[in-house]
């Protein structure tokens, strides 16, 4: 083959690959486009056949309908509150316990750590029933704290932080001790700054995990003003079963903020989720 012919083959191979990758990209993105377009269509256009992708006369009535029956703003605040408090608690408990398990020796330490590690693998759904009974005994049904309680510690977080803090040299901690720093000061001044990347990965993982929970809010919360966005949308779709206009509008309301956050912080989010995904 001449150089020119070889280059031609390479170019056509490359464009074939690009076309293939674009088709795959459409497969991943199209559902969101379809949802957004449906949300902007009047009912007659939604149920047209053959379907038209883009609305001819875009309207916002579907969004107004959604907000009339479901306070998604409130759901949002609830989700942010529940996920935020849980994440904060997970970060604090994980780094404290991680520090102690990594650097301080005491009787029964390894056994305690293995107990925690053993529960990391078990999904919450598998002991949901008992969880419900415990929270109900404590009077936590239909309360915010009952909603948050299961997410206040994360075994995996303790494991991740222990691994990370383990690699901090002992000399650094000893030097601080000689300078008269208390354990708490060491934790705040030495351990936390050196665990920043693990903590931010854990924060992203914890926040998205708690945000996406459906089954626990579903069983524990019954009044609308405590619904999270996930539960709110689940309840909404039970009411507007085949009204795809309002239904799509509600889905758009739930998706857009997450999408915006992802576009802004995609590097950190992908890194955080991959790091936690590979270490778990």
């Amino acid at each position: 083959m001449t150089t020119k012919a070889r280059r031609m083959v390479a170019i056509s191979r490359e464009s074939f690959i690009q076309i293939f990758l674009i088709i795959i990209a459409i497969f991943f993105i199209f559902p969101f486009v379809w949802m957004t377009c449906t949300a902007l269509k009047p009912a007659t256009e939604v149920l047209s056949w053959p379907p038209i992708i883009f609305p001819k006369r875009p309207i916002i009535a579907n969004f107004l309908d959604v907000f009339k029956v479901a306070p998604f703003g409130r759901y949002y605040l609830n989700s942010i509150f529940v996920s935020g408090v849980s994440t904060l608690s997970i970060l604090i408990t994980s780094s404290l316990a991680g520090y102690i398990f990594a650097k301080i020796k005491f009787f029964g330490r390894d056994m305690m750590f293995y107990i925690i590690l053993a529960t990391a693998i078990l999904p919450m759904q598998a002991y949901l029933v008992l969880f419900y009974m415990v929270v109900s005994k404590m009077g936590g049904i239909d309360t915010y704290w009952g909603l948050i309680l299961p997410y206040m510690v994360m075994s995996f977080g303790i494991f991740l932080l222990r691994q990370n803090i383990y690699s901090i040299p002992d000399e650094l901690i000893d030097a601080a001790r000689i300078d008269g720093a208390s354990e708490l000061v060491i934790y705040i001044r030495v351990i936390l700054p050196l665990s920043k990347s693990a903590l931010s990965a854990l924060a992203i993982y914890a926040f998205t995990t708690v945000w996406g929970e459906l089954i626990w809010p579903l069983v524990v919360v019954s009044t609308k003003d405590k619904f999270t966005t996930e539960l709110g949308l689940a309840a909404f779709q039970q009411r507007f079963i085949v009204q795809y206009g309002p239904l799509s509008a509600a889905a758009v309301i739930c998706v857009i903020p997450a999408l915006v956050v992802f576009i802004l912080f995609n590097k950190q989010i992908i890194q955080g989720l991959t790091l936690t995904g590979l270490k778990g």
């Binding site: 795959i24 497969f27 053959p50 029933v129 008992l130 510690v153 779709q237 039970q238 079963i241």
Partner: protein, 282 residues
């Protein structure tokens, strides 16, 4: 160190106790509203395996977990290879786009796909009609509904797995591939003798982890089974869905606890296999 005591106590209350109590409760005829809650030994377990709904749920969960993980790994691995080829153009943009479904939570994506799968007006029926396939009840038809949910699972998790595989591919020292190429190995034999063996631990890891997550799947099934255009409950009934119904609809807490114990045992079993395989690799 004293600070560990409250953390650990808390941990015992919200993790260790519920897990152990699940095992214990499974031996009782414990209804939430019953006045008496007698010890009944293994009766809950015997009843479970004679309960057609549980058997269906177990079977569906197995099919869903393993089929979706196998197809996801195949697709993600293939795409990761293409995106990490030499001199790949726009690879980062594609990876970003493929990742998007994974950052959106289950409920909205299930709502979107339910509309795509609609038996009369769904766009998927329009797309397949272009290639001459007649309208299908993707969710309504009990023969298809489980597979429709599997497609949704693959769609949502493929991008995440592409990134995991890309990390693995980047960690392969380029000297290995160079050396192989100098020895005259073609792309296929490089893949078989260098790339694949080096990525085996990651593949194993993803396989087990994703199976465990899929074993406790709930949200998409819950959303996809509501309404006349949704799937019939039994066609897509999975373990956690069945636990949810037994516990929170019929209030058979003991029975649901026995079912939860089976789920716990399955997950532990998968984990042990994972440890064993990974140890063998190391």
């Amino acid at each position: 160190m004293c600070i560990l005591i409250p953390v650990f106590t808390f941990f015992v209350i919200i993790r260790v106790f519920p897990i152990l109590a699940t095992l214990l409760l499974s031996f009782f005829d414990w209804g939430l509203v019953n006045p008496t809650r007698p010890f009944i030994g293994f009766k809950n377990y015997i009843d479970l395996f004679n309960d057609p709904l549980f058997v269906i749920a177990l079977r569906n969960t197995g099919v869903l977990a393993f089929l979706s993980v196998i197809v996801t790994i195949a697709i993600a691995f293939g795409l990761a290879l293409i995106l990490n080829r030499r001199k790949a153009k726009f690879a980062d943009i594609y990876k970003l786009i493929y990742f998007v479904p994974f950052v959106i939570s289950w409920v909205p994506v299930s709502v979107i796909w339910k509309w795509i799968y609609d038996p009369t007006y769904g766009i998927l029926n329009y797309v397949v009609s272009l290639v001459g396939i007649s309208r299908q009840g993707w969710l309504v038809n009990p023969k298809l509904s489980l597979y429709s949910i599997i497609i949704l699972i693959i769609w949502r998790s493929a991008g995440f797995n592409i990134i995991l595989f890309s990390v693995g591919l980047k960690n392969i020292p380029s000297e290995y591939l160079e050396a192989g190429r100098i020895d005259g190995a073609g792309d296929i034999s490089l893949f078989r003798h260098i790339t694949l063996p080096l990525l085996k631990p990651i593949i194993l890891y993803i396989f087990i982890m994703t199976s465990i997550i899929n074993f406790s799947i709930f949200s998409p099934v819950f959303i996809m089974t509501t309404g006349p255009q949704g799937a019939q409950g039994n066609a897509v009934r999975v373990l956690v869905y069945d636990i949810y119904e037994n516990a929170f609809r019929y209030l058979h807490m003991g029975y649901a606890a026995a079912e939860s114990t089976i789920l716990l045992i399955l997950v532990i079993f998968l984990t042990l296999i994972a440890f064993k395989l990974i140890k063998q690799e190391a």
